[in-house]
Subunit: 615 residues, 2 copies
Amino acid sequence: MRRSIATVSLSGSLADKLTAAGAAGFDGVEIFENDLVAGDLTPEDVRRRAADLGLGIDLYQPFRDFEAVPPGVLAGGLRRAEHKFALMERLGATMMLVCSNVSPAAVDDDGLAAEQLKLLAERAAEHGIRIAYEALAWGRHVSDYLHAWRIVREADHPNLGVCLDSFHILARDTGPYAIETIPGEKIFFLQLADAPALPMDVLYWSRHYRCFPGQGDLDVAGLVASVLRTGYAGPLSLEVFNDIFRQAAAMRTAQDALRSLIALEEQVGERLGGASRPAALAPPPRPVVPSGFAFAELAVPDAGPLPRLLDGLGFTRTGTHAGKPVDLWEQGRARILLNRGSAESQDGPALGAIGLESPDPAASVKRAEALLSPVLPRLRGPHDAPLDAVAAPDGTELFFCRTRHPDHTSWTDDFTTGRRASEDAGGEITHIDHVALTQPWHHFDEASLFYRSVLGLRPHDSLELPDPYGLLRSRAVSSEDGGVRVALNVAYVGAHGGRPDAAWQHVALASRDIVAGARRLRAAGLSPLAIPENYYDDLEARHDLGTERHELLRELGLLYDRDEYGEFLHFYTATTGRVFFEIVQRIGDYRGYGAINAPVRLAAQHTRAQRVPPP
Amino acid sequence: MRRSIATVSLSGSLADKLTAAGAAGFDGVEIFENDLVAGDLTPEDVRRRAADLGLGIDLYQPFRDFEAVPPGVLAGGLRRAEHKFALMERLGATMMLVCSNVSPAAVDDDGLAAEQLKLLAERAAEHGIRIAYEALAWGRHVSDYLHAWRIVREADHPNLGVCLDSFHILARDTGPYAIETIPGEKIFFLQLADAPALPMDVLYWSRHYRCFPGQGDLDVAGLVASVLRTGYAGPLSLEVFNDIFRQAAAMRTAQDALRSLIALEEQVGERLGGASRPAALAPPPRPVVPSGFAFAELAVPDAGPLPRLLDGLGFTRTGTHAGKPVDLWEQGRARILLNRGSAESQDGPALGAIGLESPDPAASVKRAEALLSPVLPRLRGPHDAPLDAVAAPDGTELFFCRTRHPDHTSWTDDFTTGRRASEDAGGEITHIDHVALTQPWHHFDEASLFYRSVLGLRPHDSLELPDPYGLLRSRAVSSEDGGVRVALNVAYVGAHGGRPDAAWQHVALASRDIVAGARRLRAAGLSPLAIPENYYDDLEARHDLGTERHELLRELGLLYDRDEYGEFLHFYTATTGRVFFEIVQRIGDYRGYGAINAPVRLAAQHTRAQRVPPP
């Protein structure tokens, strides 16, 4: 199927937008009128440039407030239309979007609307142009697609069909299944957008919060499956109005957009099943869901306090890389690499790479590549085990590994063995429970789609966490069994690179005896992040855990949460550079991340960091 | 009346919040529980620190999900309450806010709610504590204040009253007049917030978009007048949840908040009228609405291209300041100062000061001072005329002047006269029509309140303008007769100091013959900002102005708009540093600013500036 994108979805000048859409690999674009009107390129320039980039001009849009009006207003509309038809001929565009009238001049008369749209289609036909009529969710009289279709059917002209838009249809909870009652050849165009479930007026929601399919909460795949069942064979075209994408770099947004379409096509193919799946929807390689964390690698300018901290947490340095200044620290299946060879970051130590246990590392990379993730070059020495890696949107390197598995070379083979830790040597810490990565605020949706589509992780609900200097948004993605959990946090809007407090990262280590772990840390002369007494007073008010347990939590600085499945105990280490550790113990089948305690943690970290907001 | 603020309205640690509230001059605070729980200060520390800052602790809040529950749940609620009463004794707080139950455990039974609240009030009374019961707009069964009052009346306990919150009442369109049926002594507390009219769910709206009174669209003053008519004599307390204030510096937000309360009290006093106005509401000096612009002063590192540009626009250099490197350029009543003595700005020329014609400059300053505006020191030489000036929130200096008025010394007396321009010498430009100032994105509401309250200007609707790199928000404020118009623009969220394209400023000059003006500029060898041909093609489609007029607009690069009152022609000069000029001609009684053409202007400016978005 043709893959298209509306120019309004991308930032910059029209030339920038075309370049980005072409570079990402789209087949066509919708030209959004304002992008043309405000730009220096003549329609002929646009036509030529698009052709050079391999892009068709699949739609010119929008033409507004035309149908169901008194005769005097109609004359003005036809006059406007003739101007636009002339323009489209210069552009080489043959399809015009007409959206349902929102003006007070519109009359609630379907017969009149049909008659006038037919007249428009006749005029369009003289220019070889077709009209796609779309019901805006906030149209004055026509606001759902079946209503638009009834008018188009009544007008009965070969150059008039409907344009369907997933946002307008799904935002109104109109059942998409009725789409299948429309003949495929009368669906002239299909526009796609997703949106997060936000409780607001549909127009405001549409103008500010649309996102690419898979980034929101609408069932776009189900809708596309219904459309394809009608025999529709036109473009799948993304049309997204989003405050953040408007500010982001167009090249990057276009790639994010195309990744979204590829993942969407895969889902649609699954909905349709093998037999009725259009040949055009050849699926990418299946995702290979990682089963756990192989390691977390910290880029450290020098070892600094980390070896002492890891030692205090019960880790053992078990090896050093044969060819690079990288140390391996282990405890159970939790492995931390300290890479002293990395370029010094201005923020100090940072989490640079994550190893994921994959049943088939090569297949993991193929999947990532098919979803447009940058595959990292294998810069390895003659003795290194092959490592397959891709870059996540925030630059974190993801390595796909099979650690110490008989059928596969293991990255651990590159490390000269010091003391070899048994994987069940009785340490309190058993494995990496999750990692939390702060995303740049304008790449949050992209990151969430990346982890979902490339790794096959399941996104959880978004949360808002009050920080002393703004609201943070947090969304976890995880594998079904919880073997891999990544918490994506986004800094408050407006925070930027110069403010390291907005970019904390952490590695959460699962403990089977957090009380022993906390005591061990203290015995090593190290303190966990100090938790205020007020927190414990409040905890006692909220939960009656018995005097002894309350006193233990308070003494050791442990935080507490519970849900309907179990309990959660956790504490944090001090922050070094951008990084800190969290030690967690899940009791029963607790499913969360202790988010209720995040504001307390954030306040304590700000107090330590002594950071202040901008003036 | 006591002026209070909830700590949740300010950013930072609880210590930061108290310091800011004290420094701004508040009398008291509401302690938001999370601020205490997450902080290091013990309740005793908070009590001491507040006392040192002259702040009372007027409320402890919120206590949630207490009333109208089954017996087992009640026991837990009473247990929680006893913990909080003990905490409040340590804090020295004697009023606790209980908000209406939102939990699924709540029963729809007013009798049960009254009975359990009475029990709570009895327990509170033992600690000398009073309970203020508030209906949350999203309460499960109790969501309006009259319902809360009926329950309180039924419970009938001296330690139980209602808390009224302007947001919860006005957001639900509940008529505030019924407040006057509640006895004043049963209104225990009054919380105030405003909000812009935004079409969204009330909970989402409340949590993200509240603002200080006068910054939004709710009639907070009317509500407060109703409350005061009951005899209520407690605090006026600001409680604002706002995504932007959470990120801004607390000291600055606290001052903005107190300015809002002062302006609110003035409005309330007017509503109540002289006789029933409480003595505590002594009004500040009346605003002195400026009648026009006296001058615009550009800070320029060196003269650069500006003299040639001003000459091309028909200005004459009429004088130089006796003691400073400042040139005066005049045409009609339009006056531009080029100040070559200012420190070089990294962005090049910038609009540093604006002169406003005031009927009484000294009274203008008194008003500004009463509303907490920084009055600028008068650094003048022995021969300078006195100039009264204050700083606007974005740092622009506002000078209050009486230019060449027989009863008053004139700032122009400081300028040695070169060629003296007559004020009606037949130039096309007659006066400054408006100035447009881009505000830092986190100070937009503050700026809007400043111009409204300090200068008595009237705010117009907010507009959204699509720029190639984000949505800009724009709001004009003007005097009734349009003599002073200021367009406040806000850069897209996230844009910051390092991106000068987000901080353009401009001076719009009113012309009585824009065609002659445009020809004159071209004759001087200068070009206006180039407008794309596509704009004129689209204009012809939208409006039928006759071939001749369309050709004239196209030839001269003029932009066009109209509204129901008249027409508007305008063009822009090239940008120098942060500044450009706009030439406008209002035909008939056109009231706008040509906002429909702003996207075309912004795209053209970006094309010229060759600026790119961040990666």
